[in-house]
């Protein structure tokens, strides 16, 4: 399979201004290929999370350029970026962050309903399917806050996948899980990268997780080493 470029950053520089001006990213550049499973590691304060949020398009206060699937995202408006995220990027956070008022199924369906490409029935079918793949059969209609931590994290993954995003990003996606659940999540990511060609970029502290990925990017003091 020919590997095309999925994500590319050029000379990324970012400052924090509070409490005092401090350069977090000092000119970071790298390229991620389609279907690559990447992990970003580094000590806390090395700028790895900051880098991920710039990659995620949520943080727009930076210098340099960000390109995903050939689209230059630097300089787009918040609303354009929101639409782009909806379609092309899936997120998994350290603290699963589901909407507690909604059932597991609804949580998974929401991004797809927002995208509005498929009918509600199709989305629902797809959400059931993806929850089943993540071993959540029977939990679909439970309220999100009544699921265990591991189950919630898997619901969050299902939500990240619902729109078939080309890039999936995780901020310590296994940080809150026991080793069994952690391993399961890693397997899911690996499978997604290999079988569906989705690019996966995860920030992690867990050396096991990092060693299980295709490439490790180590950050130190705002630079890739």
């Amino acid at each position: 399979m020919e590997k095309t470029t999925s994500l590319e950053i050029r000379n990324l520089i970012k400052y924090f201004h509070e409490p005092e001006t401090f350069q977090v990213l000092k000119g970071v550049s790298f390229t991620a290929k389609k279907g690559e499973f990447l992990s970003i590691v580094g000590k806390s304060g090395s700028g790895k999370s900051t880098l991920l949020y710039v990659l995620s398009t949520m943080d727009t206060d930076y210098e340099g350029t960000l390109q995903i699937n050939g689209d230059v995202l630097t300089g787009k408006t918040q609303n354009q970026l929101a639409a782009f995220r909806n379609k092309h990027i899936g997120f998994v956070f350290q603290f699963h962050y589901l909407l507690p008022e909604f059932s597991a199924l609804q949580n998974v369906m929401l991004p797809a309903l927002k995208l509005g490409k498929l009918s509600t029935e199709e989305i629902e079918h797809k959400a059931y399917e993806s929850l089943r793949l993540l071993d959540l059969e029977g939990q679909e209609l439970k309220n999100a806050n009544r699921l265990s931590g591991g189950q919630q994290q898997r619901v969050a993954i299902a939500r990240a996948l619902i729109n078939n995003p080309s890039v999936i990003m995780g901020d310590e996606p296994t940080g809150n899980l026991d080793s069994k659940n952690s391993r399961a999540v890693q397997e899911i990511f690996k499978q997604l990268a290999q079988e569906h060609g989705q690019t996966i970029i995860c920030v992690t502290h867990d050396p096991d997780f990092a060693n299980n990925t295709d490439r490790i990017i180590e950050m130190q003091d705002g630079l890739i080493v």
């Binding site: 609303n79 929101a82 782009f84 909806n86 507690p100 008022e101 309903l113 509005g116 901020d171």
Partner: protein, 415 residues
């Protein structure tokens, strides 16, 4: 699709904290219902006041006043300087007062489409005498039918009948208190003495009781023909012509229209009774001020609740944004909540305001011919209450919604 998703989320948020939603709705409900109640009550009071006033007051009065005469032939003749003029014991001439050609004026006024009723009156101040009792008062010679049309005088008669004036040429109808003062009853005779010294006897054929004490104490009705005889005027004479028009608040334009045709003074009720106008205006201002204050307070309540909700949901808003919901979507979600709160509150408020007003009409209040507290509903009050209620909610909901739409997801998610 995306729109309905936003609405679905708004609904979930509204129903998940039903108590909060209920309190917010209640805020609007109180504002709207108080607005309706206050305004309906004030309208009722104003209407009662007006009905009371217009039981003795016509919308327009045409009369001929004895103007102070300034014509001075000597001074205008000898106006050169160095002339000393000294007129001793100068007398004013009595000019004719009243209208000598009432029928032509009545017919020209009646041609106007706005006119409801026109009545001629012959009014004169007189002494009523009965035995050794002597009471001064006003005698009012009236045309029976038009007078009744104007003031519904026949409904104030408590003894005898209004139409007795028609059948008895020497009949008189006295105010209740006047009759008591003179010690008179029906079919007794009363002597009337005019300022010109004419004295005539009349028979009491009726007694009236109006809602105005001064009228009951001083007034008596005669047939207009009898009154003309009493004051010694021709058969086309009237001291006042009273006109009622369809829209009593619109007297100014009507007067402007007829003023060229009528060579006498024309006075609207507003000019004659400025305190009436001022009273009702002031009451209206109070009603609006009170109800708007209530709505404002309700608005602050809603603002607080929306702010609280948004602070509670700040993480979820960040998640929604991270998964692709735009600032506008977030705004739609929270504005939808505000709209639902506003609509629900307004609907319940209308029902409650209506109910509250109906309850108030059951409270007894027996002064000045009233039985219960007055309430008068106007469609425009209900409409404005709903508009204000929803507007307040939207404004109160807009500010927190805008705040929510501007939340930066990165700050929240990173913790």
């Amino acid at each position: 699709m995306a729109k309905s998703t936003n609405i679905q989320i708004a609904r979930a948020y509204l129903t998940s904290k039903i108590w909060q939603t209920f309190v917010a709705v209640l805020g609007v409900t109180f504002g709207v219902s108080m607005y309706i109640f206050m305004n309906s009550f004030m309208n009722g009071v104003n209407k009662t006041q007006d009905d009371l006033a217009f039981s003795a007051l016509s919308h327009i009065r045409i009369y001929n006043q004895d103007n102070m005469n300034v014509y001075n032939p000597i001074e205008s003749q000898f106006n050169q300087s160095k002339t000393i003029i000294n007129i001793l014991n100068r007398k004013n001439i009595q000019y004719t007062t009243g209208l000598n050609n009432s029928s032509s004026i009545v017919s020209s006024v009646k041609k106007q489409t706005e006119v409801i009723a026109v009545a001629c009156q012959v009014n004169s101040s007189v002494f009523f005498r009965s035995g050794s009792k002597k009471v001064n008062g006003i005698i009012s010679g009236v045309e029976l039918e038009p007078e009744d049309e104007l003031f519904k005088t026949s409904s104030t008669i408590i003894q005898g009948a209004w139409n007795n004036l028609q059948t008895h040429k020497t009949g008189i109808i006295l105010g209740k208190l006047l009759a008591e003062k003179l010690g008179l009853q029906i079919n007794n005779s009363v002597n009337v003495l005019t300022s010109d010294g004419v004295s005539k006897n009349y028979m009491v054929v009726g007694i009236f009781e109006s809602n105005l004490k001064t009228m009951d104490e001083t007034k008596a009705y005669l047939n207009i023909t009898a009154a003309r005889q009493l004051v010694g005027e021709n058969s086309d004479y009237a001291s006042d012509i009273l006109v009622n028009i369809k829209d009593r608040d619109n007297t100014a334009s009507f007067i402007q229209k007829i003023t060229s045709m009528i060579p006498y003074q024309i006075e609207s009720w507003q000019e004659a009774n400025e305190q009436l106008v001022a009273g009702s205006e002031l009451r209206n201002i109070i009603a609006i001020a009170v109800s708007l204050t209530i709505l404002l307070v309700a608005g602050f309540g809603i603002y607080n609740i929306m702010n609280m909700t948004i602070n509670e949901k700040i993480k979820e808003i960040a998640i929604l944004k991270a998964t692709g919901f735009s600032g506008n979507d977030i705004m739609t979600i929270f504005l939808t909540q505000a709209t639902v709160i506003g609509l629900l509150g307004a609907i319940v408020g209308v029902i409650m305001g209506y109910g509250m007003s109906l309850l108030i009409t059951l409270v007894p209040f027996t002064i000045a011919g009233l039985e219960t507290l007055p309430i008068f509903f106007r469609a425009q009050d209900f409409l404005l209450a709903v508009v204000f209620g929803i507007l307040t909610t939207l404004i109160a909901g807009y500010l927190p919604s805008r705040k929510a739409s501007k939340i930066d997801p990165v700050i929240i998610i990173r913790g």
